[in-house]
Assembly symmetry: C2
Homo-oligomer: 195 residues x 2
């Protein structure tokens, strides 16, 4: 990685950190500059404006942060239920970057920016669909392996899983880690009930 590329990805990583904790609109470019030790000239050399950086952040930094865990957990075991369960558990508990109080950066950005900015919405939809397809594929694999009745709609279940994840990430901000634990129990029950 060249020095310029390092600068760029450093900006994105730090920006993700700040935006994760404060929100996109509440995070100023100066905030980012202070924590990165990068100057304004460098920032605007790499990004045309704040919005372009935000989009890059979704397409690159955010993906890099969570995608390894998703891929790993979805191919860990032959049992699709275990894999999906471990994926959610991993996202909730085993991401050092994420905390209960601040939730999930993707969920936060959807909440804040999807209604305000088309480019953000598109980027977030793309990211969501990637995740959805991965879950869906794992469910279909489970069906083909005889672990789940083929009458179930894999798409629908995938969306349910993501919806639950969004919900628990939001509720966790009020109820804290104990809620994550009781949610996980319920989530396992949900998976097991699917015949």
């Amino acid at each position: 990685m060249s020095k310029a590329e390092a600068t760029r990805s450093d900006i994105l990583r730090r920006a993700l950190e700040l935006i994760y904790k404060q929100g996109y609109q509440a995070t100023s470019i100066d905030d980012i500059l202070v924590t990165t030790q990068v100057t304004k000239g460098a920032f605007y050399y790499h990004f045309r404006n704040k919005e372009e950086m935000g989009i890059a952040l979704i397409d690159e930094a955010m993906q890099d942060e969570i995608w390894p865990l998703i891929e790993k957990s979805l191919s860990a075991s032959p049992n699709f239920r275990d894999n999906i369960y471990e994926m959610i558990k991993g996202l909730l508990f085993e991401q050092p970057f994420l905390t209960v109080e601040h939730g999930c950066p993707a969920v936060n950005l959807i909440q804040e920016m999807a209604p305000l900015n088309d480019a953000f919405r598109m980027a977030l939809i793309k990211s969501l669909n990637k995740w959805k397809r991965a879950i869906e594929a794992e469910i279909i694999r489970g069906q083909q392996a005889g672990q789940l009745d083929t009458t179930h709609d894999a798409k629908q279940i995938a969306l349910n899983v993501i919806t639950l994840y969004h919900g628990v990430r939001n509720m966790g901000k009020l109820l804290g880690k104990p809620y994550y634990i009781s949610f996980l129990k319920e989530f396992r029950r949900y998976l097991d009930i699917l015949n």
Copy 2:
């Protein structure tokens, strides 16, 4: 209602509208003043600062907006399943104030402000608990009426319902109204599966 009270509640209503659409931090006091035709002096006569107005908004304006629907739907029919289903359906579809793209003001505020401000978090928890208890009571009523096995934990189900609502409000920002519809079908299934 005195004229002063009218001014105050007008500020709160308009502020709720703006904050709902733009977010709390992105809504400036000047924004509120322009749309209310109220002057800065009047604003700061009624509220010590922006935060105090935000809290009042949660405690008063937000409750007034959704609570009538919740109470009405939770006592509409003898069937607790129908009532809870209609409550969620009503919140999603029959609140003229709310739109799919902007989601739910309470969910939005939790996402944005719970990690940043203790006073907000407290007010939001209070509001959440009020809703949770109402759902819980309706579930217990259903259990006493023999509609639901008493082995089920009413508290847990109430939290599940709210979690799903949070999730769908967030996902709706990306997937739009069609998702609300398919979610509702799944939600009905979830209620019916509880034996």
